[in-house]
């Protein structure tokens, strides 16, 4: 556990450009938007569809002293939504699903970061605001650092109905898989 905390802290510190002695104590990392992706997979009894968001921003601020003090804020532009079928994209943008006109942003703000026993792995707890509703989610992350570039990968599931996205209950699964890769440059 201790080793995992150390590894994760080190990885996150690389993201924060190792400003160990600098002030202010929190430092920001720059997102490489081209290399990053936020995708989702929705399922129904007879198949599934993949989609995602082309435009989003992320800001990571990390404390060299304590992992728990770090923050991660992700803001997604919902109008950049895409899916594996243009007709479906059209439907997903409407109030049945993401209602992108009324809610052009999805926001995730971390409230707690903890490390796990697995090397380079941790859990980011935070508030996910979508369709005007905020719910707490726990996101397991794996953070790998190579050549000073941090790859933060997260694979988790959310229950879309908690945010009021109730269209097609019974026909479309309530649980949606989220796959995110955030690449931070020093």
């Amino acid at each position: 556990m201790r080793a995992a905390i150390t590894t994760l802290t080190l990885a996150l510190l690389m993201v924060s450009q190792f400003t160990l002695s600098g002030t202010p104590p929190l430092s920001a990392a720059e997102l490489d938007a081209k290399a990053s992706k936020i995708n989702f997979v929705g399922r129904k009894p007879d198949g599934s569809h993949e989609g995602g968001f082309k435009e989003f921003s992320a800001e990571a601020k990390l404390s060299p002293e304590s992992l728990a003090d770090g923050t991660l804020v992700i803001e997604i532009d919902t109008t950049s939504l895409w899916s594996d079928n243009p007709k479906l994209t059209n439907h997903l943008k409407n109030p049945d699903f993401f209602d992108v006109r009324k809610y052009p942003k999805i926001k995730f703000e971390s409230t707690k970061m903890t490390a796990t026993d697995t090397p380079n792995a941790g859990v980011v707890t935070g508030n996910l605001t979508m369709l005007g509703k905020t719910n707490e989610v726990q996101v397991p992350i794996v953070c790998k650092v190579e050549n000073g570039i941090c790859n933060l990968k997260a694979e988790f599931k959310i229950d879309r109905t908690k945010w009021g996205m109730t269209y097609g209950e019974g026909k479309v699964d309530a649980i949606v898989d989220i796959n995110a890769t955030l690449v931070f440059k020093p």
Partner: protein, 313 residues
Amino acid sequence: MLVACVAALLSQRLIGRRVGINETAMPLLTSGIGGIIVGLGWWMGMLIALAGRQWITAEIGWAQRLQGVEAWQTALWPLLLLAAVPSIVGDQSIAAVRMVAAAVFASLLAYVVLPHGEAWQDSMNLHRPWSALIVASVMCNTFSLDGLIRSGAKVWSLLVMIAGIGPAFLLASLNYAAPAEWILAGLAATAGVLLAASWAAFREPAQAKGPVQNNESDQINGPVIAVLSAAVTLPVAGLIATTVTTSRFYTWEEYPMWLYAVALFLPTIVVIIDFPLRQFNNKIRIPVAALCSVALIAACVGKLLLQEPPETW
């Protein structure tokens, strides 16, 4: 709205007589009350469908539920007004009032059904032309269908209404499922009125006799069927305009103008084609109207489903 009212009165005055405005004489009180009851019954079906699908699941207050969260939900109230308009199409003075009411309530419908607010700033340029299209669609479809009912096409005028809902439903179902589900309730309610009208026609002993001319068919079908049919003309016209407009504003697809025109004016197009055939009996008119409806719906299906295969959840 003023322009629409003047247009309604003028069209009633100038064209109404030519299409046989006084062809059918009906008892005013019975027809008036009966028509309003049928109209309100149709609207109650829409209310129950909206309450069942939207109000129970939505985590919102009752004031917001009644007002409507989305613009298309707000259309419920103008539709109530349209459903409550007297459906006596045979009396010229009431028919004139009916057209003016159609103009006023269609204007109200246009005001509420167009999505407003900060999120819709980029579509504000579409509001004026679409307001005019909504009013024109409601008035033209009402005027045409009322004329069709007066000309003896009482029961099958409801089939034209159901056909008119078809392209609107198709457009909505490909873009925004919630109003598409709602319009299905309108389709079911109209089908219910069709069944009632068919039952009333079946009960007429003279119905079993051979082909008849228009004036005779008026007597055979009687005022009951005319009232049943005309009672839902206005709300169905309002529902078509609401659904097509919602589909237009909630789509990111570039559909051709002819598609919207067909979806907004299908009943009017069918009635225009039927107009020169009114001298013939229903054995000729019904297949022609059916063929026209099928051809128009097929064109919409071809464009929406065959050229660009849809994908839904």
